[in-house]
């Protein structure tokens, strides 16, 4: 087993009463793109700052390429950061910004210039090399900041919400560009965001942080289909479709577990943890996985909202309120009585408290 490229070993840090990292344990292999996802204040930026050497953990160890970086000055750590506000030096032009890290490493003028033009080419900004920073748009600044970080060939690239300053359409385009480029270059990347779509579309694995704790780290699909905790389920799954139930039997060979719930007996997929017969569990059903039968049933349609491609339908009944999504235009309208069902395998069990 090769040494992990980047490793957090039980890293904790707190500010007064605020816990910004609690026993973080994380291994990242070379070339991996990790998205760190979590609500505001969950410790995402703190994680990056510890990696960049701006902050020192209270306990635990952080290793890059097997060597501890705890206590090293920021300029001694082989990371480069793309900051949320880009932090481009305003009194330098684009090329000088990109050359700065190389200059600090003692590169000659010609080598610097060649390398700067090379990375600017990677982000399609070579034509802007002599532009002053003030004359750049947000998207262009973002590219220059990425190029500046890549220029020094860092072992680990750190990005702190690098797209949050851009508007939606540009953001969607740049997301794809960045993730393609970084995968192509095989750069190990830690990418902080609080936009779940961004995390899920860009990353190889997504780490979900909550109050300084790592709730789960998994590939995007696993995260959606098997959230480890109800926080993850709630954070990723949208609202209202987490409910409780009781395990009513053993898992079969396919990993399906019978569960007794307010919506009747359903067959749910086994979650991340183990389950025992009779155990109280949470059950997650994604809004698009419910089946709605347009027959007079126990559930009443409270609202139908059409949001572009899907209809979002709120229903209420004996087991509570749920959100259901249907592709296309729904024929249902407020006040209709419908039947609500959970197809086999549409639900997933969430057994918390492991670790």
């Amino acid at each position: 087993m090769p040494e992990a490229e980047l490793e957090f070993r039980d890293v904790s840090i707190r500010f007064g009463k605020t816990i910004a990292a609690e026993n973080l344990r994380l291994e990242v292999s070379k070339g991996e793109f990790i998205a760190v996802l979590g609500p505001s204040g969950s410790g995402k930026s703190t994680l990056l700052r510890m990696l960049g050497g701006q902050m020192v953990p209270d306990s635990g160890d952080i290793r890059i390429g097997g060597e501890s970086i705890v206590g090293c000055a920021p300029n001694q750590i082989d990371c480069a950061t793309v900051f949320q506000d880009f932090a481009l030096f305003p009194h330098m032009n684009v090329r000088q910004n990109v050359e700065f890290g190389l200059k600090m490493r003692g590169w000659s003028r010609e080598d610097r210039q060649a390398r700067a033009m090379e990375v600017l080419g990677l982000v399609d900004m070579d034509a802007f090399a002599e532009r002053p920073i003030v004359a750049l748009s947000g998207g262009e600044k973002q590219r220059v900041a990425t190029a500046r970080a890549l220029a020094i060939r860092p072992r680990v690239l750190l990005m702190d919400e690098p797209l949050s300053a851009l508007d939606r359409l540009i953001r969607l385009r740049v997301q794809r560009e960045i993730s393609n480029l970084l995968h192509e270059l095989d750069v190990t990347t830690i990418y902080v965001t609080h936009d779940q779509r961004e995390a899920l579309t860009m990353a190889d694995r997504v780490a979900v942080l909550h109050r300084g704790r790592l709730e789960q780290i998994a590939p995007p699909l696993d995260l959606i289909s098997r959230p480890a905790t109800s926080f993850v389920a709630d954070f990723l799954g949208g609202s209202g479709n987490l409910f409780t139930g009781k395990v009513a039997g053993q898992a079969d060979e396919d990993g399906m577990v019978p569960v007794e719930t307010g919506l009747g007996r359903i067959l749910a997929r086994k979650g991340v943890g183990a389950t025992a017969n009779g155990q109280q569990v949470s059950v997650l059903v994604r809004p698009e996985d419910f089946s709605l039968e347009p027959v007079a049933g126990d559930y009443r349609v409270d609202d139908v909202a059409f949001t572009g491609e899907v209809a979002e339908i709120s229903v209420g009944g004996p087991a509570g309120n749920f959100t259901v999504k249907q592709l296309g235009i729904s024929r249902l309208s407020t006040g209709d009585q419908v039947g609500l069902g959970v197809p086999d395998g549409a639900a997933v069990l969430i057994t918390e408290g492991e670790q």
Binding site: A73, P74, T81, L88, F89, P90, H91, F100
Partner: protein, 272 residues
């Protein structure tokens, strides 16, 4: 273009009138000085007798004035250097303070700004005398630097009002040591503030009479020399002196402004 409103035009005219009045009242005394400084007669009376540059000639040949000038320049430059170094350090420190008690302490440090010069002067004198420090040029420098540093602090903190602190982190992140990071990320932003602070401290030292009078012994600065000379009557030579100083100050202020603007333009920033 929008048609201009009548009320607006009246407002403009009022503003212009006030501006002209203000200029007149602040420049009138200087004009009077300038006019009498070239009058060929040792007393002030109209009509003017004739044009002469004799008073200027006397001024530039006067040895006392020359030594006063040397002292004033020496002290002024020292004070400006000390005040801009300290003021820059305090300004940066102050901008970094986020806690409330820290802000209070910082504000207390700016008190010399609003303390009457006479109070500062007497206070400094008592301090020096009571602690056995002989009054000299050095004590003047110390007293003036204390009094004028806050002006530099203000100039520097104004530049740091919306400073992007991430620039410092970015520089460190890319491999710069702490000093290099400051030089690259912060210095260009605060440089205009430091320069104007330096010039301001120099001008205030150069024109200071009160602090120099109370905390210096055994030498004259230009202002204290003038003060002692005018006790035996104001010679037109002093008017020539005042005119020269006024013109020099004006030139300095204008060039300082131009230097700042050009620095800002080269850096792609703004002067505000």
């Amino acid at each position: 273009m929008m048609p201009r409103q009548r009320g607006e035009r009246i407002g403009d005219r009022l503003l212009l009138t006030m501006l002209v009045a203000a200029l007149f009242f602040s420049l009138a005394p200087l004009l009077v000085l300038a006019v009498f400084s070239v009058n060929d007669f040792p007393y002030y009376s109209l009509p003017l007798k004739g044009f002469t540059l004799d008073w200027y000639d006397q001024l530039f040949k006067d040895e006392q004035i020359a030594s006063g000038l040397t002292n004033s320049l020496e002290i002024g430059i020292l004070v400006a250097v000390v005040a801009s170094v300290l003021g820059t350090a305090f300004g940066i420190g102050g901008a970094m303070v986020t806690r409330r008690w820290g802000k209070v302490v910082f504000a207390a440090g700016l008190l010399p700004l609003v303390t009457p010069a006479l109070v500062l002067a007497i206070g400094s004198q008592i301090l020096f005398v009571e602690s056995g420090i002989p009054l000299s040029k050095l004590t003047v420098v110390i007293a003036q630097a204390t009094a004028f540093t806050p002006f530099v602090v203000l100039m520097v903190t104004a530049r740091l009002g919306n400073f992007q602190w991430s620039l410092l982190h970015a520089a460190r992140d890319l491999g710069a040591g702490p000093f290099r990071a400051f030089q690259v990320a912060m210095l260009p932003v605060i440089r205009p503030g430091i320069i104007s602070g330096f010039l301001l401290a120099f001008l205030m030292s150069f024109n200071d009479f009160i602090l120099g009078f109370f905390t210096g012994r055994g030498f004259f600065t230009l202002p204290s020399l003038i003060y002692s000379m005018q006790r035996v009557g104001i010679s037109p030579m002093l008017l020539a002196y005042a005119t020269v100083i006024a013109v020099l100050t004006l030139i300095l202020a204008l060039t300082a402004r131009r230097v700042l603007v050009s620095i800002a333009q080269r850096r792609g920033g703004n002067v505000a």
